[in-house]
């Protein structure tokens, strides 16, 4: 097996025993990226030079016998809306094309303290608005499993980078499914932590009450390791919660016998691809075989979640993104007066999807519409939260498909925003409720990955990891790797 193909925990063992060096691991990932990147296009910025320097530092520290962090020498990639000091952070927008922040996001600081090595910044839908990474201002990313298809979005680059072996793990952000849906599309593990579990400081805000940062990994163990590194209270984020997170590794390998799993029927209804359903039900069978008790249940307000989401998220975004005005940073289009400067900077700086959502959000908050749209949506949000609260009195975990379909073709949905929005129906309610959601590879349909989504009550990431690990130990979907074809040649 190639070094770039290994997991965090496998590499950590090799690094700890000195069988490989951080530089070797980094070089392996860089070479792999060089090979597949022309086809996948997961990265918008490479930090290769810096990565080698950092890897050397890790090796030197280890050689001196110093204590190194739990992720020391592990190559990682970061979604390009996560601020990195001195490394451009574009949000894949023309407006921030050259923006180099003067500060690190808290998650970046924590990962650096853990010793992880930044390989680069990954492609995404502009300002995280999209489900396919086609809304990147730069280029689309291709799904390593089928280069004609999208990797999902908005964190498509982060998912594809891990799936293709260009990084051992990566971070994405998830406002309505932007970690879980690409994880499913690329057959990797993706976790959206509970709202408040991971600091949002330094992560460009899309919808402040929904955004969370989380990992993409090759397996569940790695997911626990990365979550360990990034979770916990941050003084710079008043919405991060105080209680100390546990060591998530301790839940791996725990028996799931007697654990109650609910299948909300609304997530298996019309609009969900039959073959996807089939794969999911087979996976459910595996869990039943491990002693889990599976029952059908209901989350009655599910059908309203997309409407609630497509009011609240743009409303918050319309306010969050006002700061992008070309005055203090970002690309500015000059004009004789400041209003025209704002107009031109923003109109030329933002792509169509961003402008569309800013317009929706502004509309929903403006006089006369606030009560009808924004406030109403917040009330229905409460009902969605209550649905989940109710369900979790009976079940430890809810299980659903992550996405109603397998990866669609590049260009297939780009002209129909409403259809694109509906590809998030399984993931959106989870952000509205603030609960943790994990997408796990659970099979294939016509050669394309299918992910299952596991949900638990707030701050019960431990339960998700426990169930996901049990499934993973009894299947081998997580071990399957895409054959990336470059220039007609396949690179496995």
């Amino acid at each position: 097996m190639e070094l770039w193909d290994l997991t965090v925990h496998e590499l950590s063992r090799l690094l700890a025993t000195g069988e490989v060096s951080a530089v070797e691991v980094t070089q392996a990932a860089l070479e792999r990226a060089q090979q597949v990147e022309p086809a996948v296009r997961a990265f918008v910025t490479s930090t290769a030079d810096q990565a080698v320097v950092e890897a050397n530092t890790v090796d030197a520290a280890r050689a001196r016998g110093e204590q190194v962090g739990p992720l020391a020498g592990i190559p990682m990639a970061l979604k390009d809306n996560i601020c990195t000091r001195g490394v451009r952070t574009t949000c894949c927008s023309r407006l921030l094309e050259k923006f180099a922040p003067s500060y690190d996001a808290t998650v970046v600081r924590r990962l650096q303290e853990a010793g992880a090595i930044l390989m680069g910044k990954t492609n995404m839908d502009e300002f995280a608005m999209g489900s396919s990474t086609e809304n990147s201002a730069f280029f689309p990313t291709h799904n390593p499993w089928d280069l004609e298809r999208v990797p999902g979005g908005s964190s498509g680059g982060s998912a594809a980078a891990v799936a293709a072996g260009e990084a051992v793990f990566s971070l994405g952000s998830d406002t309505g499914g932007s970690i879980r849906q690409p994880a499913a599309f690329c057959s990797v593990v993706g976790l959206k932590p509970s709202y408040g579990r991971v600091s949002r400081f330094g992560v460009t805000a899309f919808a402040s009450s929904l955004d969370q940062v989380g990992p993409f990994t090759k397996d569940v163990t790695d997911c626990a390791l990365v979550l360990n590194a990034i979770a916990g209270k941050d003084e710079l984020d008043p919405t991060s919660v105080v209680d100390t997170p546990p060591d998530y590794r301790q839940f791996l390998g725990k028996d799931i016998k007697g654990l109650r799993i609910g299948l909300p029927r609304e997530y298996f209804a019309e609009g969900i691809d039959d073959e996807v359903k089939e794969v999911i039900m087979k996976a459910v069978g595996v869990l039943e075989g491990l002693g889990a008790v599976v029952e059908e249940t209901s989350l009655p307000h599910t059908e309203y979640a997309p409407s609630v989401y497509y009011i609240l998220a743009p409303a918050e975004a319309s306010s969050n993104m006002g700061r992008l005005d070309g005055v203090r940073y970002g690309r500015r289009v000059e004009a004789p007066d400041v209003d025209t400067l704002y107009n031109r900077t923003r109109s030329q700086g933002f792509g169509a999807e961003v402008r569309r959502r800013l317009m929706i959000g502004t509309y929903a908050l403006s006089a006369g519409n606030y009560e009808v749209f924004y406030q109403k949506a917040q009330q229905v949000r409460t009902l969605i939260v209550r649905d989940f609260e109710q369900a979790f009195t009976q079940y430890d975990v809810l299980l659903t498909p992550t996405s109603p379909t397998t990866p669609f073709k590049i260009g297939e949905k780009i002209d129909d925003p409403l259809q694109m929005y509906l590809s998030d129906i399984c993931t959106i309610p989870v952000n509205l409720a603030g609960i943790p959601g994990l997408s796990l590879p659970c099979g294939f349909s016509q050669g394309l990955p299918v992910g299952m989504q596991l949900l638990a009550k707030p701050f019960a990431e431990s339960t998700l990891l426990q169930v996901a690990y049990a499934f993973e130990q009894n299947t081998d979907y997580h071990k399957q790797r895409p054959q990336v074809t470059v220039g007609g040649e396949s690179n496995a």
Partner: protein, 98 residues
């Protein structure tokens, strides 16, 4: 059906500080109408007496002590600005008072 008018689209664009071409205006008028019509089915939901969810957290009173801490130098603060003069961000003529 929510029917967004041209006038409304212009007003929203102005509030959003976006400049739309007539083609975009036509497109947005249609798409906004579609999306908002879709969203309008929320009206069917009975929310009498249901409080809004502003945040899912039950956190209250998150604050810090009144202590000064320096962070950025002026050079860092101004480094990303397109136009700087006399240690300030420079903007062209301001048309009217807020």
């Amino acid at each position: 059906m929510v029917k967004i008018t041209d006038v409304e689209v212009e007003k929203i664009a102005r509030l959003s500080q976006l400049e739309l071409t007539s083609e975009e205006k036509r497109m947005f008028t249609q798409q906004l109408s579609d999306i908002l019509t879709f969203a309008q089915h929320l009206a069917q939901v009975n929310t009498d007496g249901v409080p809004p969810t502003i945040s899912v957290l039950d956190l209250v009173n998150v604050w810090r002590d009144d202590e000064v801490k320096e962070w950025l130098s002026r050079e860092e603060a101004l480094a990303e600005a397109a136009v700087v003069e006399d240690g300030c961000f420079k903007v062209p003529r301001i048309m009217d008072e807020e």
